[in-house]
């Protein structure tokens, strides 16, 4: 098991190296440069030239890449040109918002999706099943930003039940420990702040959960149906095992394998989907920052953010594989 984990982790290095080379040279091939975004419409060509030189953008690309690599070796991803702050700091600042949102969405998706999918499978062809199948189809087809918009108009603007924007009520001064607002509120026992953060998570979390929820429901339903038809389930039932044991130990556990994969993949996709949700709810995570960085050709920020996200994606997949092997010993053997 340890070897498996080490090997998979080491695979990260060539993957990220290759990605960094591709990204670095591809980004520089985009027309325009930060000297245009940063200096506005009226700067003189001399001012732009001076800025390019100051930013080291006139050096040969190989030299610039080498500089990037040597800095990276020291754990330094460079500085965002937009904000003048280290890229890592910027990431650390924005990641909790996106992660909190993704976790909220995943909690909703898994918490509702697995039981619902299971129930639908157990009562195949029934009213609930039809509703689940139909509903999940709508969930998959509805664009997240549209759903986000509808939720916002109905629950924030018209009913006023939930806030329409931000991660917390403006001016609510809360202590920051991790940057995860709910967690911070619980850790510092500022219950108001934690509750405020949960309220602010409700609508964007619900919107973002629509696709993973639908996927989890469908995967669970299909997988449970498949397992229910397996010989060993019939055997177990025939042996006179308690139905409850059959259903949890035999059916659910085995049915969870493909669902875990789906959850893993969806978690990765959530970070991408969060971009739109963040902007609709002015949530201020990594998505809006990456978008702004492409606008200003903020090379260091783009490169740094994308590399970190890629690394996380690979790591999430690794975690999925590990949980897989825990659930199913056969994976470890092979």
């Amino acid at each position: 098991m340890l070897r498996f984990i080490v090997r998979r982790t080491l695979q990260l290095i060539p993957t990220l190296f290759g990605l960094s080379v591709l990204l670095f040279f591809w980004l520089r091939r985009l027309p325009g440069g930060p000297e245009y975004a940063l200096l506005g419409e009226d700067a003189s060509p001399e001012q732009r030239a001076a800025l390019r030189r100051a930013l080291g953008l006139d050096d040969p690309l190989a030299v610039q890449y080498w500089r990037f690599l040597t800095r990276l070796a020291e754990g330094d991803l460079g500085t965002s040109l937009q904000t003048g702050r280290p890229v890592l700091d910027e990431f650390a600042l924005r990641f909790p918002a996106t992660a909190e949102l993704a976790v909220a969405a995943m909690v909703i998706a898994v918490g509702i999706g697995i039981p619902l999918g299971y129930l639908a499978a157990r009562r195949r062809g029934g009213l609930l099943d039809s509703a689940v199948v139909g509903g999940s189809l709508i969930g998959i087809c509805t664009p997240v930003f549209f759903l986000a918009f509808v939720l916002k108009v109905v629950f924030a603007e018209h009913l006023g039940w939930f806030p329409s924007a931000f991660r917390q009520t403006p001016g609510l001064s809360a202590t920051r420990v991790t940057g995860f607002f709910v967690l911070d509120g619980l850790m510092t026992r500022e219950w108001d702040a934690a509750w405020d953060a949960i309220l602010h998570l409700a609508l964007p979390g619900l919107a973002l959960s629509s696709i993973p929820l639908a996927v989890v429901v469908r995967m669970t339903r299909a997988s449970v149906l498949e397992v229910l038809g397996e010989d060993y389930v019939r055997t177990a039932e025939a042996k006179g095992l308690h139905r409850h044991v059959v259903r949890t130990r035999h059916v659910l556990r085995n049915a969870m394998l493909p669902v875990m994969t789906a959850i893993g993949l969806q978690t990765g996709a959530l970070f991408a989907g969060a971009v739109l949700t963040e902007s609709v709810f002015a949530f201020g995570g990594i998505g809006s920052f990456v978008y702004a960085s492409t606008q200003t050709r903020d090379y260091p920020a783009l490169l740094g953010f994308i590399l970190i996200i890629a690394a996380m994606y690979v790591l999430i997949n690794l975690l999925v594989d590990i949980s897989y092997s825990l659930l199913d010993p056969r994976v470890r053997v092979s």
Partner: protein
Amino acid sequence: MFIPESARSLSITASALILVLIVTGCAESTRDGGDGGERNETQPLVFAGAGDPRTVDPVLTSDGETFRVTRQIYDTLLAHEPGGTEIIGGLAESWEQSDDGTEWTFHLRDGVKFHDGEDFDAAAVCANFDRWYNFTGNYQNSNQTYYWQNIFGGFAENEDEDTPDPNFESCSTPDDLTAVIEVKEPSANYPGAFSLASFGIMSPKVIDQVAQEEVTGDPGSPVLPSYTQEAGTVAGTGPYRLVDWDRDAQEVVLERFDDHWGENAKVKTLIIKTISEEAARKQALEAGDIHGYDLVGPADVEPLKDAGFQVPVRDVFNILYLAYNQEAGEELGDEKVRRAIAHAVDRQRIVDTILPEGGRVATQFIPETVEGWSPDVTTYDHDPDKAEALLQEAGQSDLEIDMCFPTEVTRPYMPAPQDIFDIIKADLESVGITVTADSMPWGDYIPHTDSGGCSLYLLGWTGDFNEAYNFLGTWFDGYDSAWGFRDEELFERMREVSTTPDADERTALYQEVNQEIMDYLPGLPISHSPPSIAFAPDVTPPAVSPLTQENFAEASFS
């Protein structure tokens, strides 16, 4: 009916959670209440801009979102009349210039306090100017000290050959309340420059404290000093002091400074939030999460008004133009073609259908409110027949030309670039000009047009202060690859007028230059567009400023 335990408890928990969320969300939803005076003290006024501020030291940026915050914290030597562009006293009660325009004497306000308790005096003014002039290392990066370099040239010791020679000479203090700033050459940039947000006056005690802080980092990776990134490090003399910059929540919290030299701010706590999406800003206002926001989409103005929100109109202080690049499109070297295009475009239609209320057709490259605007310039009415005739005379009745416009962007002077392009294209095609569209994102657009990549293209400019040179000098004081023409006579006139010390004389000269430019017609000025700002119905907004320099100390709950 059987439901597995685990699934049943999960679904029960989930439904319970949602129910609780809904019910308590309802209970938590307490909005507003109380009379204005009480609310001013207890409720923060929340205003949303489109981007995070970059620094709390305004000299290190050229960014309007930053200035929105720093303008509340710092005062400048000179200011603008509320809601207008006329220059009035700020920290200086009065000022005068020497005859040759190289010596500026400022008579300072007495009894002004900095937020850190220090007294404001002439030495404080000089401490600021001397600091800026003596910047070294990465501070000399044009990205860090853009306005200083634009207005005062370079530094005591320039470290880069491209940095301009300094025009700043010295700052002296004949007495405690008089500061004299000497420059090498007169410039049309003065006195307007002394009102720029970048040159907000900071407490000398802070300057001493941050003296050792550097812009660090390698080439390509300058890191702003830490004092510029947090609350509690800086002090100005403005109506608000900075008490919190919560980057996680993307908000800056400002609190009323009760020892302000002018009238104290009405609202005790002012919060500036970041909402980058235009639609999200609008919805946050509608949902009552914020009390105002800037950069309202033109299409939202009427719906917001209908819904009872306030959308006060700022006076226009910008220009949208159709540039003719005579090197990219050689036919544009012919004056008849340039005039034909001017007659072909129905600018009134652009103003009527695309710009928000208060928009105007431009007759020249500066708005009417700027000194030097001339009522006597040649104008080009919408006249397709004349355009066709001119094209025929020029032998260009089958003219084909490319035209660029940016996508994914709105600028204060250019809402909906694509829609504006569509109108112009249709107008040009109706007189027989074939237009090839070339659209690209903003990040690519500026370099492309700058380097002369488009024959026709849309661009504009918002002024920094009331001085024609701030507009005209941007484009016409020498050869510029963005325009691709050489007219030494015009360039020489521009240089002459920019170094004329006497303001009245300068105004007269600008009027002549404007007439010359509109005879020559290097491009077609299209429109002036008022950038919109919106407020909740229960707020008394500050006087809206054409320079987008709202003073939030004037705002209150009503």
